[in-house]
Amino acid sequence: MSPFVTLLSRDIRLAARSGGSAALALSFFALVATLMPLGVGADLHLLARIAGGTLWVAAVLAALLSLDRLFQGDFEDGSLDLIALSPLPLELTALAKITAHWLSTGLPLTLLSPLLALLFNLPPPATLMLFVSLLVGTPAVSAVGAIGASLTLSLKRGGLILPLIILPLLSPAVIFGAGAVSLVLDQLGAQNALGLLAAFAFAAVLLSPFAAAASVRLNLGG
């Protein structure tokens, strides 16, 4: 087994055994999606109109719940020192952790989204677009989140600062993701919005491991 797959599978195993951070994120996502129609009322047209934005914001916030532990657990117990001395470069270490976070949080959120779209009376084509946009866009949430998690690594309560750092950076994902759903709802072409979302996610996944690795290096010396 390659060092990359070794780290990836350990992080997924830890996520599954750590009191279910994925279950926590899913519960949060489902609760927000359930509360929103209760707050807004039974205007089915309005609910369908706000569904894309609401579910996208809820998904981002739900994914945030477990992001602060992305590097911090390994940093605090000394595992990160040992991982840093392994043959796996820190950039690939960051990529493995981003992938593990997406598989244990972003992917389950995406799979749950069509069910929650029912609460918003979202028509099937728009529901499909919501699913596809989350599938394409949630890797960007994990990737951008990794930068924030690495920057707040040595802070005792870094989890509180983390949203302030990464939520502004994630606004393009929310704009294009929710925008694509709205465009399908208006029976307009959503290819451009989806394309821009995919480009943003691709750039985030490609570049964030370098930023996160540089930040981890600084924190290991601190």
């Binding site: 087994m1 060092p3 070794t6 780290l7 350990r10 195993r13 830890l14 055994r17 750590s18 657990g73 390994d74 605090e76 117990d77 000394g78 595992s79 020192d81 040992l82 991982i83 840093a84 001395l85 392994s86 043959p87 796996l88 290991l220 010396g221």
Partner: protein, 200 residues
């Protein structure tokens, strides 16, 4: 692989504080160096500097290999076996899962015999959350052995260990040096083998 490590006039600065300065030493194959000093003298900082986590404010660390001499910290890191203050053990994993993870990460095979050597054979499938501090330290030792790196950096290697555990560390260090390995250990206790000392 690294055959000797030379430090020349190392200076460590943390924030505005100069932790140590003018530190020089040389460790070659089969040698051990005990780093001694009061609390806060910079023992752990020196080990972290050698590992490449911390850059020296001044001075050089030169590793000699078959390819020549190099001061590249990333290259040096590939020869280092690390036993730090923290054990790097996840309570959710079993003893063998923990050992397997690091062995695979370091590209080495996993041998159950390693657990026998450190006295953890019976705890093989026990989740690490049930291990005592001494047993966690023994597992960290097994991981150090699994990594099979030539230069061991040990931060308080005897911490939390009982008398038998301390004797085991002594045996492992003697064997490592006997096989041509190198050890730099920050410790308040005698290493129990022929070694040089560096006072910070």
């Amino acid at each position: 692989m690294i055959s000797s490590l030379t430090a020349e006039n190392l200076v460590c600065v943390r924030g505005d504080r100069r932790v140590f300065e003018g530190v020089s030493f040389r460790v070659a194959c089969g040698q051990a160096l005990a780093v001694e000093g009061a609390n806060g003298a910079g023992k752990t900082s020196l080990l972290r500097m050698i590992a490449g986590f911390l850059a020296p404010a001044h001075g050089r660390l030169i590793a000699k290999t078959a390819q020549g001499e190099s001061d590249d910290s990333e290259e040096r890191g590939k020869s280092i076996g690390w036993l730090g203050h923290q054990d790097g053990i996840k309570p959710q994993l079993t003893v063998i899962e923990q050992l397997r993870f690091f062995a695979h990460l370091y590209g080495k095979p996993v041998e159950d015999a390693l657990l026998e050597q450190v006295g953890l054979a019976r705890q093989r499938d026990l989740p690490c959350r049930y291990l005592s501090a001494g047993q966690r330290r023994r597992l960290a030792l097994a991981r150090l052995l699994a990594g099979a790196r030539p230069l061991w950096l040990l931060d308080e290697p005897f911490a939390a260990l009982d008398t038998a555990g301390q004797a085991l560390v002594g045996q492992l260090m003697t064997r490592h040096c006997g096989m041509g390995g190198m050890i730099i250990a920050a410790t308040h206790d005698p290493l129990g083998l022929a070694n040089e000392s560096l006072k910070l």
